[in-house]
């Protein structure tokens, strides 16, 4: 069970969170059909570091951006979406 440091709530167990998607599969509302195909079906699925969207569903309810390693499950960064890059 991973431990995710929510910027609002502090370190909490993975069970409180929902994985939503990899950041590269966020599809803008005004995207073209071709972009929809790329983002929804032709994704990277990296073995290694990945930017992901998780939601602290059983906590503050906020979507968070995680920089997470898909093999080791190390989490290098947890940030709010509106945080400066």
């Amino acid at each position: 069970m991973q431990l995710i440091a929510c910027p609002h709530c502090g370190p909490r167990a993975q069970a409180e969170f929902e994985f939503d998607r990899a950041v590269d599969s966020v599809l803008a509302l005004d995207a073209s059909p071709a972009e929809a195909v790329t983002r929804l079906y032709e994704r990277e699925n990296p073995k290694g570091w990945s930017w992901e969207l998780w939601r602290h569903s059983a906590g503050c309810g906020v979507f968070l951006k995680l920089h997470r390693h898909t093999v080791t499950h190390e989490i290098a960064e947890v940030s709010r979406l509106d945080a400066a890059p």
Binding site: A13, E18, L27, L29, S32, F63, H73, L81
Partner: protein
């Protein structure tokens, strides 16, 4: 009868006696005894039969790694198979039985296979039965009887199990000398320490040895450490096994509060599952000795050398009278001294090395018959015990008689948790061991688990003597895998260790190959002519030792398996004793049968009531969301695929939402309840998904919109009132201006309760949804019952609702909205917002979703006979399915049956005749393809 109890020594309480039975016979032991030590003390040699060949088996080890002495323990629902006799501490009234024997342990018919038949080689089942189903059918009965590990319990487990969470600075796994030392130093530094030990006592290997530690006898050192740790408030759990090392330093512990099969005291839990999150984990899990490969190395009387020493020094049990020690290292020499000091004759020490310079070997040479370059080729004996052995001594054959053969093939560090945590292993060519190398998490391995037993060239023990009978040299004792099986797998082309494992079942028994895996790997490496590390390792999977399923379930069994969500009207429904239908976690009435009505007859009566008079149904569980703010309409135009922006205040409309891939996700209604305030409904089952979706759109896709979302699903309880007399009924409770027109809303009071009334119809009749805050809805329902009775009204359930909506051609989430259908498939495309600012619009423009050719389109089906639900649509029976039925029912007022379904290119096939065929129910109906709205297609009945 070879084993016996010594006069003194050990950490058993000789002043007290415990009685227990094994295979129905009464035995005695002392507190502190395992089942194995007590039975060995009573002279028992034969403990069970092996899995595949039913070979006689005794005790091999003194710990959790035991592959041979497996027993069934306990009575009724507490029966637990495959319990290791070496890891079961006896208690008064313990009932144990041997396994894999029939009709009895001493005379086992299955063993006849082993005596007269050919052995069953690796891959036997694949080769013998693949492609020959008839053969398997014939032999299955006999094979099932002969095979299997123990038998499962036949009654429910009556015990309670609980889960607990804990946090600490340092978790120390294993309370041998290394673990105790680690706990001592961490607690001295002021850290919050948890120390867990799978044994009933802390001390680990110290109980086995007679040497002093730090100038103190072992037991005195343990006592001192315990006093210090207790004084520092260290949390110590015995009989607690760390079964898994998970992400981010979370370790799960299985704590036994009673022994397997033992009845807990009233109200006490049997076992506890801990989830411990530690800042640092110290793995002091020790090492496990390996057997030596030679013929009949599985015979009762062949035991691991450290285990023999444990029985002598810890339990005061000498497992034989004439012993031979066979080794490839110095450590086993201690066993010779322990045995001799306890009065056992040590016939010889057979050392496969050519020499050893160490002190203990010199001392042994002065007292015992020590032979170098000596390898055991074969053990001799049977169910009654060992009679002797054949060895090779510097090329010359040698025969010895003995009733105990203590073997040591070196030790393997217990690296399971280190590996589960993602660590790597390092191969030591000299000791022949894999030891923890690089950690991945905040873990450190200490003591014997870290490897590095110096001066030992135990790698020798991994090589079988030349000319040994490989067919009877066991590697995996529990699964009856021999050296010959590994040879065969290799000859047949298996190279990957994972493939060899599955083909031979090496390491796949409940002991997970704790004693066998490295021996098997070494054999494979030798065949390959490659170093062991290049052959690779199999995966270390949790749990480290088997756990009972009840422990993993905890309290989540029976009615506690899942939460039950009860709508506010639950108690009122309960009085009517309805038939219930779980809807997600919600409990909803399916129908309210009267007298001897069935579900079907009750639902048909309720549906007729709605069509002819008035009915009311609890719709409290619908998903409901309030969307407010200056950009609320703009937000909804992104979520909903229909137009929302032009909705006038006080009005509502049907809507549906798409997923990003253009597929319909859910549907409901949207209401403008204020200038910048909307109410959006969704399906009951889709409410949680919708809540997440709305949060995603607001936070991720459109954070610039000024909008707030409140999930009001549980705030607003609701009742739908439907039927030609619905307006009449409402007029009795609400003053006339308070009754809204179709797709309009009104606020009013019913029975003194403030309500929101939405005029919308799902059944096809004039209908109103009345919403009130939570349990405030109760008097509203009571008022409907009181005022509606003389109108011929009654409550109706989900079954009637289903019949009504099918007849009306309304789609439902989970029925027609099945995660595959586009708006066009569901005939909803004319309602799509042409400006297309909504989620799913980009993907929906893809040609595959735009073209109709070959797509399953929603159709209506009519028939004279009942249409089987879930049936497929075919031209002839049997035939290739061209579609399927999603929902079916009887017509409410007319004769005949109707259904909704999907048919390939269905919108172009109206009038066609097909069969709805369900081979699983052996039912069919001739159907005509029609428009899906069967009832009031003009929509006259629900308008004013």
């Amino acid at each position: 009868m070879t084993g016996s109890r010594t006069g003194q020594g050990g950490i058993i309480d000789r002043s007290r006696t415990i009685r227990f039975t094994f295979d129905g016979k009464l035995y005695h032991g002392h507190p502190g005894d395992t089942l194995a030590s007590a039975l060995l003390a009573e002279g028992l040699v034969l403990f069970g039969r092996s899995f595949k060949y039913h070979r006689p088996r005794g005790v091999m080890s003194a710990g959790v790694e035991e592959p041979n002495a497996l027993v069934g323990v306990g009575i009724g629902g507490r029966f637990e198979p495959n319990t290791r006799a070496t890891d079961l501490f006896i208690y008064e009234g313990l009932v144990a039985e041997s396994q894999n024997r029939w009709p009895s342990l001493s005379f086992d018919l299955g063993a006849v296979i082993g005596l007269f038949g050919r052995f069953v080689p690796a891959g036997f089942y694949y080769k013998a039965f693949l492609g020959k189903p008839g053969l398997w059918t014939f032999y299955e009965h006999f094979i099932r009887r002969a095979a299997g590990l123990g038998r499962p319990p036949v009654k429910p487990d009556p015990d309670h199990y609980e889960h607990r969470a804990a946090f600490c600075d340092v978790l120390v796994v294993g309370a041998g000398p290394a673990g105790l030392s680690a706990a001592l130093s961490a607690s001295a530094a002021g850290e919050r320490v948890m120390l867990v030990e799978q044994d009933i006592a802390v001390g680990g290997g110290l109980h086995r040895e007679s040497e002093d530690i730090e100038g103190l006898p072992g037991q005195a050192w343990i006592a001192q450490a315990l006093t210090t740790l207790t004084g520092r408030g260290v949390s110590m759990l015995t009989r607690t096994t760390a079964i898994g090392y998970w992400d981010h330093d979370m370790v799960t512990l299985a704590q036994k509060l009673v022994e397997p099969g033992q009845v807990p005291e009233d109200g006490q839990v049997a076992q506890r599952l801990w989830r411990v999150r530690a800042k640092r984990v110290v793995l002091a899990t020790g090492a496990i000795e390996r057997p030596l490969p030679f013929a009949n190395n599985d015979r009762p009387g062949v035991m691991l050398a450290q285990a023999v020493r444990t029985y002598v020094n810890r339990f005061g049990v000498v497992p034989g009278a004439r012993a031979v020690v066979a080794t490839c290292n110095d450590d086993a020499y201690r066993t010779a001294f322990a045995l001799a000091d306890a009065g056992c004759e040590v016939v010889a020490i057979l050392d496969s090395r050519s020499e050893s310079p160490s002190e203990i070997v010199k001392a042994a040479a002065a007292r015992f018959n020590v032979q170098f370059d000596a390898q055991v080729l074969e053990a001799r004996g049977g169910p009654g015990g060992l009679t002797g052995l054949a060895a090779r001594l510097g090329g010359q054959p040698l025969s010895l008689s003995c009733d105990l053969l203590a073997v040591s093939g070196g030790v393997s560090p217990v690296a399971h948790l280190h590996m589960q945590a993602g660590g790597t292993l390092n191969w030591n060519e000299t000791t022949g061991t894999f030891a923890p190398d690089v950690p991945r998490q905040n873990q450190v391995t200490v003591g014997a688990a870290a490897g590095g037993a110096e001066g030992n060239s135990s790698a020798l023990g991994l090589t079988a003597p030349t000319g040994v009978d490989a067919r009877h040299s066991f590697v995996d004792f529990q699964n009856d895998v021999t050296l010959a099986d590994i040879d065969l797998a290799w000859q047949e082309g298996y190279r990957s260790v994972e493939h060899v494992k599955r083909y031979t079942t090496l390491g796949m028994a409940t002991d997970q190959g704790k004693t066998s895996n490295i021996v098997g790997l070494a054999r494979l490496a030798a065949l390959e002519g490659r170093p062991v590390p290049q052959v690779g390792l199999t995966t270390f999977r949790p749990p480290y030792t088997p756990v009972t399923l009840g422990l993993l379930a905890g309290h989540a069994t029976g009615k506690h398996l899942a939460v039950v969500r009860r709508p506010p009207l639950y108690d009122l429904h309960l009085e009517q004793q309805p038939l219930w239908l779980p809807s997600g976690h919600w409990m909803r009435p399916r129908a309210y049968p009267r007298g001897d009505e069935t579900l079907h007859s009750a639902a048909m009566r309720e549906a007729r009531t709605v069509r002819q008079a008035v009915g009311w149904v609890d719709v409290s569980t619908l998903g409901k969301f309030e969307i407010a703010g200056p950009d609320a309409a703009a937000f909804l135009e992104r979520v909903c695929a229909t137009t929302v922006a032009r909705l006038a205040q006080g009005r509502g409309r049907y809507t549906f939402m798409l997923r990003e891939d253009g597929i319909v996700m859910d549907d409901g209604t949207v209401w403008r309840i204020g200038p910048e305030r909307y109410l959006l409904t969704s399906s009951t089952g889709g409410a949680d998904r919708m809540a997440h979706h709305l949060a995603y759109v607001r936070q991720v896709l459109a954070p610039e919109l000024k909008v707030a979302i409140a999930n009001v699903q549980e705030h607003w309880a609701g009742i739908a009132v439907a039927g030609p007399k619905a307006k009449t009924l409402l007029a009795r409770m609400v003053p006339d201006p308070g009754i809204p027109r179709h797709m309009s809303l009104a606020r009013s009071k019913i029975a003194g309760v403030p309500v929101l009334i939405l005029a919308a119809s799902y059944s096809g009749e004039r209908a109103f949804e009345i919403y009130a805050a939570g349990t405030d809805i109760i008097p509203v329902w009571q008022a409907l019952v009181a005022q509606g009775a003389d109108l011929g009204g009654s409550a109706y359930g989900l079954e009637a609702l289903e019949i009504l909506r099918i007849e009306k051609g309304h789609v439902v989430v989970g029925g027609e909205i099945d995660g595959r259908a586009t708006p066009h498939d569901l005939r909803l495309h004319r309602m799509l917002n042409p400006a297309a600012p909504f989620i799913g619009a980009p993907a929906l423009q893809r040609p595959a979703l735009q073209s109709s050719a070959g797509r399953l389109r929603m159709v209506g089906l009519e028939s004279d006979s009942p249409i089987p639900e879930g049936s497929m649509l075919v031209s002839t029976m049997p035939g290739t399915p061209q579609g399927h039925v999603t929902g079916a029912g009887q017509r409410v007022l007319q004769k005949g049956h109707v259904a909704l379904g999907f048919l390939r290119d269905g919108d172009e096939r109206l009038g066609e005749q097909l069969m709805a065929w369900s081979p699983t129910r052996n039912a069919s109906a001739r159907v005509t393809i029609v428009d899906p709205v069967f009832y009031d297609p003009e929509g006259r009945r629900y308008r004013d």
